[in-house]
């Protein structure tokens, strides 16, 4: 990975503390050199080029940047990239296989779970964490699990339906 340093007006790049980290992203092992202040969201978007993880508020409110770390949902703007060392990261790009959408993606399509689509990757990852833990959620469970994710278009109704659609499909698939 190419690293471009800020020109620090005399403070040499050699002074910038860098750390080597090993992690996996969507099942692929990676090594990266990161400055400790780099956020996980930046590593994912800029370092790995996976721009499906969106940066919304950048203040831990909106949940658009939600990814899974070792299977648990995390707001990637609120975790340092160095902290990914030794951990497994999953992003929205990891949901679909080469030929098929993930049931969550299908659900959002079938139930019109998105309008502008900005919050959608975070919604899907938060929903993925829910369904992994609870394959048969009630509507209330879904609303609860998504309560850390903001959507300014849909009014949430169709997002909730989409997740329930996916839950049904996943259970039917066994």
């Amino acid at each position: 990975m190419t690293i471009v340093y800020d020109d620090l007006d005399g403070q040499e790049a050699a002074d910038v503390p860098m750390r080597r980290i090993r992690f996996s992203i969507n099942g692929r092992k990676k090594v990266a050199e990161v400055e400790p202040r780099l956020l996980l969201s930046h590593l994912i978007r800029r370092g790995l080029g996976l721009t499906g993880t969106h940066m919304g508020c950048d203040t831990t409110n909106c949940g658009a940047c939600t990814v899974l770390v070792d299977g648990r949902p995390v707001k990637s703007c609120t975790m340092l990239a160095v902290q990914a060392d030794g951990h497994e990261i999953s992003t929205v790009e990891g949901l679909a296989s080469a030929s098929e959408l993930h049931p969550l993606q299908e659900g959002f399509k079938e139930e019109h779970g998105l309008q502008c689509g900005f919050c959608t990757p975070g919604m899907m990852m938060a929903a993925k964490a829910l369904l992994d833990e609870n394959p048969d959620p009630t509507e209330e469970d879904v609303r609860w699990a998504l309560s850390g994710n903001l959507c300014r278009c849909t009014g949430y109704q169709n997002i909730v339906k989409s997740v329930l659609w996916a839950a049904d499909k996943l259970r039917a698939e066994g």
């Binding site: 750390r19 400790p36 950048d58 203040t59 949902p73 975790m79 309560s147």
Partner: protein, 291 residues
Amino acid sequence: MYPSRFRYEAPRSLGEAIEALRDGGDYAKVLAGGQSLVPLMKLRFASPDLVVDINNVPGLDYHRADPDGTLRIGALCRHADLERSALLKDTQPTMAMAAPLIADPIVRTRGTLVGSLCHADPQGDWASVLTALGGSVVAQGPAGKRTIPLDGFVTGPFENLLAPDEIAVEALVPPARGKRAGGYLKLERRVGDFATVGVAVALEMSGDTVTRAGIGLTGVGGSTIAATEAAAALAGQPLAADVIERAADLAAAAARPRTDHRGSAEYKRHMVRTFVVRLLRRTDLTAERAA
């Protein structure tokens, strides 16, 4: 947004972490869940020279009860662990009710109770809960451990008693002498917002009589408020209507709310009173149903 530049250490033991803090210069911060610290660093409200990340220190993610009933919550026990805890559900009604109300479900994945106490935000929920329960924080430094009662631990908004080379390694809740009752209520504009008002009530009951009471108030003062007079009005009393009303009045009087975008001071004070009444009546009902 980026934090300003800092050095980063990820020690593998508490000893190494304390050493790093001791050698860390003037401004070092311990990183646990990071759900308050990282946002503060991104906004440049905090610009530590050194961040000591304790997430790789083994054996800090526990919460468990000692044989005598003392509850211990380790520095890496996440809000989500407490939310799912059968131990809390069975033995700590006030904490069990508060856990699902902390921030939002995703923040709860990483955020920690001990970190929340250290952060000492006047709008932080756990500090009120542990104040009501008479809890304390165990700090470990080069000279060993010391236990600091929570009402002295928080010294002001975003300030605590820890020395620069000390780490809060666990929180303690003392054992109940009677049957525990109580709860936590929080008024928030939406999930994840800071508390407009939060009230923690922790009771120990012997039959119908309150043997010990604690009341903690969130978001209605410069730091967490222990409503000690309100709690004293409950001790030794049955939860009769007049006792409840008097405690609620005293709790409202202990609040020091300020008018802001979340509501007027008068409204917040009123909500403190309302929440105390609701929690105490709820306790009453619970006791009746059980009997």
